[in-house]
């Protein structure tokens, strides 16, 4: 690697406002502690002796970690016993980003398991095998994304047989918002999961009209520019992604107030180590590499379609995001973590790698060593599934109509 790799204008480790000394509080204290933890990672990697050659994407280690979780998980995952299709998705999607094809036997096992999570009466998928749990929009989204990622005829057959249309119609409220399950909470996640699942399975027409849904989501954009869980709630990375992706699918993203949205999004990237925070004045966390980072391709393509951004142009700092993921979020034994000092888990591994895949697709990555992004598969940021698998599913269900 040449010294040219260090010529980037942005340098990790810059001082941020937490150290300015104004109005010290819990927030500044936690921010400084997090910056110090990140700084230790940066110092280790940027040791003048080691330079950046010490850092690379630990593809092999991440594969091993994911492949083991596909079969067995520790007792700590009992709190996700009602989210098992999510565990399938996080692991299968992580492997697919890393370019690892799961073998036919493993694919069959996953399809078989997801099939058992189907609710035969209401349609949709539950958080675990039926009976014992109710159908829920979030595991339904995770199940469909897992099946699309596997992409075999048996996987498509299962999507077709899951009565998704009737389940989605039952979850829809009069005002166009979606409840996560029967007698459950309502927020932007519901609308996103519903339109994503409907699109992938060819049920958009059958589950519409979607006009009210778009209007309801637009009402969740806050004064800051991001999107909150419901109208009035604070702008938040997870809900902003859900709202923006849902509106993109509904062809209504241009109705968001774009300048504040763009300003809010770019403002969430952290000057100290390059990662994203989820809300204003919160700490960096690798999962927002996707929730915030994944919003950029959607916003950028919107701006490009209006002639307000050059083709291929970007408005965020992809190399800096890669710095955070490679230097601060990776765990040496495989897997990725929220931030230095935290343990790895499959959720953060999935969304950190998803953010990595988004950043890797930037048209220019000045100063980024090739090994950081080589072999990383491109994803469709709206669904967060690898590109070619999304195309195959859309094609399959279009032909089936």
């Amino acid at each position: 690697m040449s010294d040219a790799d260090y010529q980037r204008r942005w340098q990790p480790g810059v001082e941020t406002d937490a150290r300015d000394g104004g109005a010290p509080s819990d927030t500044t204290e936690e921010q400084i502690a997090t910056e110090e933890a990140c700084q230790r990672c940066i110092d280790e990697i940027c040791d003048p002796e080691l330079r950046r050659e010490a850092a690379s994407l630990l593809t092999r280690e991440h594969r091993t970690y994911c492949a083991s979780g596909l079969w067995r998980l520790s007792a700590g995952y009992a709190s996700l016993d009602a989210s098992r299709p999510w565990l399938c998705y996080w692991i299968v999607h992580s492997l697919s980003i890393l370019g690892t094809r799961i073998d036919a036997a493993a694919a069959d096992a996953v399809i078989n398991f997801i099939g058992r999570c189907r609710d035969p009466d209401c349609g949709g998928f539950c958080g675990g095998p039926y009976p014992g749990q109710m159908a829920h929009l979030a595991p339904t989204y995770a199940a469909v994304n897992t099946l699309v990622t596997i992409g075999t005829p048996a996987a498509f057959e299962l999507i077709k047989g899951a009565k998704l249309g009737s389940f989605l119609r039952a979850m829809r409220r009069e005002d166009g918002a979606f409840t996560m399950h029967h007698d459950g909470e309502v927020d932007v996640r519901g609308a996103y999961c519903a339109i994503a699942v409907a699109t992938l399975s060819g049920e958009v027409e059958a589950t519409g009209p979607w006009e009210d849904t778009a209007n309801w989501i637009l009402g969740c954009q806050t004064y800051e520019g991001g999107v909150g869980a419901t109208p009035g709630e604070e702008a938040h990375g997870g809900y902003t992604f859900c709202g923006l992706a849902a509106l993109s699918l509904l062809g209504a993203a241009h109705r968001l107030r774009l300048p504040p949205l763009v300003r809010w999004l770019v403002g969430r990237q952290m000057a100290h180590a390059g990662g994203f925070q989820g809300r204003t004045n919160k700490l960096v966390d690798s999962c927002y590499s996707f929730w915030q980072g994944g919003a950029f391709p959607l916003v950028q393509s919107l701006l490009q379609s209006r002639g307000e951004l050059a083709p291929g142009g970007a408005i965020y700092n992809a190399p800096a995001l890669l710095d955070y993921l490679i230097v601060c979020a990776q765990v040496a034994q495989g897997g990725l973590r929220d931030k230095p000092g935290k343990g790895r888990d499959y959720y953060h591994t999935c969304y950190a790698l998803s953010g990595l895949a988004v950043a890797a697709s930037a048209s220019e990555l000045p100063g980024v060593p090739e090994g950081w992004v080589n072999g990383v598969r491109l994803i469709n940021p709206i669904f967060n599934v690898v590109n070619d698998k999304v195309e195959a599913a859309l094609e399959h269900f279009r032909a089936a109509e």
Partner: protein, 300 residues
């Protein structure tokens, strides 16, 4: 439960994402699975669902089953008995809630109890305040507080409550959001005097910590719909900060960034030229966002 046959989880011939369940987890779940199939709604199934929740508070089916049980068990009860049952349920929720502050189910269940009880907002606002004392940015707690205010009232004390939190931590963005929410519901945001008052409020916090993004975002949110030229003190605030040396780093970036929008708004060529040169400076000062500032410059 001797009359009930446990129904074990069927993961199929080749299980995936198999969790090494802690002791007791599977047994409780097997009984609960059977109950869900039979649909029995009784004191004992209510108790069973509590055990499921003790093992996994994110089991949304168990929470919903409690609502279903209570509805069924009290469909013929007197109003007083019904109310008593839901009051006990709220207490159950409080006990479970303190250990599961980041859980969607417990907050939604709480809302379901309150909606059935129809009591005033005081006790509930106090409960949320107590949660926020330990975890001042808890997203669920703030969402719940908004729901309580919207459905039960209690707006009178909210401004003081929020201000208290901001005095404690001016970077509590959730509190800033709540101030905006309060204003939306109790004031006329299209009124110039309201906007000016809010600019002054935010300016006080900006003076104390110019690099704190929360009051800047708040100020923009209040003024943007009216237009910056309608509230000249916004420009004065930015120019004042940039003329002095009180603000360093992030504070200067925030002031310059807002000034770009102020100067760009009127379409005056000289002002726009200055906006573009500010963008040039921001490319260096805020180098992480270099690409954004180049784009912003192109949009002037």
């Amino acid at each position: 439960f001797s009359d009930l046959e446990p129904l074990p989880q069927d993961d199929g011939p080749v299980p995936v994402v198999r969790i090494a369940y802690p002791d007791g987890f599977e047994e409780v779940m097997s009984y609960f699975r059977r109950v869900v199939v039979t649909g029995e709604c009784s004191q004992r199934t209510l108790q069973l669902s509590a055990e499921v929740i003790a093992h996994n508070a994110a089991n949304y089916t168990a929470w919903q089953y409690r609502r279903r049980c209570l509805e069924a068990m009290h469909s013929g009860s007197s109003n007083a008995a019904r109310e008593q049952a839901w009051r006990e349920e709220l207490a159950f929720c409080t006990a479970r809630g303190r250990e599961n502050l980041k859980n969607y189910q417990v907050w939604f269940h709480r809302r379901s109890c309150l909606a059935r009880l129809g009591s005033g907002p005081e006790a509930e606002l106090e409960f949320v305040a107590e949660i926020l004392r330990d975890d001042s940015k808890n997203y669920h707690a703030w969402g719940h507080r908004q729901w309580v205010l919207s459905s039960c009232g209690g707006w009178e004390g909210e401004a003081a409550f929020v201000e208290g939190l901001l005095e404690e931590d001016a970077r509590n963005n959730s509190a800033w959001n709540q101030r905006y929410f309060l204003l939306q519901h109790t004031a006329d945001l299209s009124s110039l005097s309201v906007a000016e008052g809010e600019v002054d409020f935010a300016a006080r916090f900006i003076a104390a910590a110019p690099g704190n993004p929360s009051p800047w975002n708040y100020l923009r949110g209040v003024v943007e719909p009216l237009g910056y030229s309608a509230v000249p003190r916004v420009r004065l605030l930015c120019e004042g900060l940039l003329a002095g040396d009180a603000a360093s780093g992030a504070g200067r970036v925030a002031a310059m960034s807002l000034l770009v929008d102020v100067l760009d708004e009127g379409g005056d060529p000289a002002e726009q030229e200055r906006a573009r040169s500010l963008c040039d400076s921001l490319e260096d000062l805020d180098s992480l966002r270099e690409a954004y500032w180049q784009w912003r410059r192109s949009r002037v």
